[in-house]
């Protein structure tokens, strides 16, 4: 070992600190990752077009019937109808943001650049959540604006206040929440198809199948399934009156997502990349 080997590191490298790159830098890099692939923009466009478009379409088709005396459903069930599809695209976006890193091997570039893995998880989660909240809320708002135009013509319009306002904001919140839920599952399963299937099955299929479980246990299982608990906040009128209240339900869903993220964090730190 010569003198130069001793001098070089201290002369050219910054002093080590246990913190690694700053969170702001990691956040910026995660935003760049998300915004520089086409799939993100396609998925977000699909979220808006399906979420708002289908709501408008179904309001246009049903406004007359809803205003007539034959209607056995409330206009409130229709004004957020398309958000169901926005939730599916949100699952895809959240999953892809994580699992393409594993399928392409890019996760090794990511974790070599930012060895503090918790920061990668946190920054990715935050970026996905904020983007989906903004797009989800705009989608719900556009769906309300378009759908309500037809309802209004029949005299059954819903003002943007009270439960309707809560449902628009809740639409954004649930879309963001379900995307974050998918991010967590993505880090756990590290596989695109598996992640999307598991989340959709949990939200759409198992949430309904829980109804088959008898007794009080079954009743609570239905209430606590993430899709059932979290979605009430995004609806003006609950599709199932036995479900938890909108905000209580969303709180439960947030806790479930948080628990899953905590587990993802532990495994991300422990596993070899």
């Amino acid at each position: 070992m010569t003198a130069t080997t001793v001098e070089r590191p201290s002369a050219t490298t910054p002093q080590p600190s246990p913190s690694g790159p700053g969170f702001g830098a990691v956040l910026r890099s995660e935003w760049l990752k998300l915004s520089t692939v086409r799939s993100t923009w396609w998925t977000l466009a699909a979220t808006f077009v399906l979420g708002a478009g289908l709501t408008v379409l179904i309001c246009w088709g049903n406004a007359e019937w809803l205003a007539s005396g034959d209607a056995d459903e409330s206009p409130g069930s229709f004004i957020t109808w398309g958000m169901m599809f926005a939730q599916i695209t949100a699952v895809i976006l959240g999953a892809l943001a994580v699992t393409t890193e594993y399928s392409t091997g890019m996760i090794r570039s990511s974790l070599a650049a930012v060895p503090a893995r918790g920061k990668v998880l946190a920054a990715k989660s935050l970026v996905v959540t904020v983007v989906l909240f903004v797009v989800g809320t705009l989608t719900a708002l556009a769906g309300w604006a378009g759908g309500n135009w037809f309802l209004d013509r029949e005299g059954i319009g819903i003002a943007l206040e009270g439960d309707m306002l809560r449902a628009v904001l809740g639409g954004g919140l649930f879309v963001a929440g379900i995307g974050l839920f998918s991010v967590a599952v993505g880090f756990l399963l590290r596989h695109t198809a598996a992640t999307i299937s598991v989340v959709l099955a949990l939200m759409l299929i198992l949430g309904n199948m829980a109804n088959l479980v008898p007794g009080t246990f079954g009743e609570w299982l239905v209430k606590l399934m993430p899709g059932n608990a979290g979605s009430a906040v995004s609806m003006v009128v609950p599709f199932n009156p036995t479900l938890l209240d909108p905000w209580t339900g969303f709180g439960v869903f947030a806790l479930e997502t948080g628990a899953l993220l905590a587990l993802a964090h532990v495994l991300l730190r422990r596993r070899d990349a």
């Binding site: 910054p14 690694g20 520089t36 090794r108």
Partner: protein, 318 residues
């Protein structure tokens, strides 16, 4: 500088643990190209992933510039790595790939243009990386490694799948980095490539260090040489040389016609003089040094995970 101490990695397996890296010690010094040589499955990539904190060692330590890699404030400024040319999203452009990496370590965006120029990818920087050839992908990986202008550069199998021009480029590039005083650590299972690139060798087989020495030392210690002799009266010449304490082996000639002698223990001038003194005729007198490839084969013969039969290896060697 990279320093590994008693570095060990075991992977859980059905029948107990499989040891990938078995308590190795080595130091990679700055200012030279250190080749990390070993057959496939020897533990090279695992070692490199442990250097970068991607795999956690089962025991032992590895440090970069005197501290654990994960402790670095801006890791890309400490060590640049090419681990896998495909550690890139195929849908993202080369420039965008470098942009997110730069952002993560607070490296100014202007540096992205610089490294693209460095590897000659400026003209295709806006193209999606999925459309890149293997060689272009490798260049992009090297550009990423150079983003932080790091004093330590680690390249895992950088010439794998490259065309001759690409191989030459990597070789020149690695040389240049070492000449600038950087620590350069390059893994390969291609011995011939290493002999042209590395100053120093760390040879690994079945997770253990088999040699850690300069290229010259490695050649003189492990690469045997002999003198090839062809003559009309081969048997007579052979006896003559044996009488002078040379070790002589008669083998079928490489060209398939006739035989030749492989003589060790007596150099070419001595052989020529001895033969001339007896008035015999020589058709060929050549000093043959076995290549690094042969030396490596000889050294790792016992440590290759999956190897062909010895006969097949020898047949393929020459």
């Amino acid at each position: 500088m990279i320093r590994a101490h008693a570095l060990t990695k075991r992977f859980p397996d059905k029948d107990g643990d499989r040891v990938a890296v078995d308590g190795i010690d080595f130091v990679v010094e700055p200012g030279r190209v250190t080749g990390f040589l070993g057959p496939n499955g020897a533990g090279k990539s695992t070692t490199m992933r442990m250097i970068l904190g991607l795999d956690a060692p089962t025991s032992g330590t590895v440090s970069v510039n005197g501290h654990r890699y994960a402790a670095a404030r801006a890791p890309l400024r400490e060590i640049g790595a090419l681990l896998d040319a495909h550690a890139i999203h195929p849908g993202r452009s080369a420039r965008d790939h470098l942009r997110w990496m730069a952002a993560s370590n607070g490296i100014p965006t202007t540096r992205v243009g610089e490294v693209l120029e460095l590897v000659g990818l400026e003209s295709v920087a806006g193209q999606r990386a999925g459309k890149f050839s293997l060689g272009m992908g490798q260049r992009l990986g090297i550009a990423a490694a150079m983003l932080g202008d790091p004093p330590v550069v680690v390249l895992d199998e950088p010439v794998n799948g490259l065309d001759p021009e690409g191989i030459r480029w990597v070789r020149t590039f690695a040389r240049q980095l070492a000449d600038e005083g950087r620590t350069v650590f390059i893994s390969s299972h291609l011995m011939s490539e290493m002999s042209l690139m590395a100053d120093h060798l760390v040879v690994i087989g079945r997770g253990r260090i088999l040699a850690d020495c300069s290229m010259a030392e490695f050649m003189s210690d492990h690469a045997a040489s002999y003198v090839r002799v062809k003559a009309p009266a081969l048997t007579e010449v052979g006896r003559l040389l044996q009488a002078r304490d040379a070790e002589v082996e008669m083998v079928a000639s490489g060209t398939g016609r006739g035989s030749e002698l492989r003589v060790t223990g007596l150099d070419a001038p001595a052989i020529g003089e001895a033969v001339a003194a007896q008035g015999l005729v020589l058709h060929e007198l050549t000093l043959v040094r076995s290549s690094l490839e042969d030396a490596f084969m000889a050294l790792t013969a016992d440590s290759v995970e999956f190897h062909a039969s010895t006969a097949a290896l020898e047949g393929a060697g020459r």
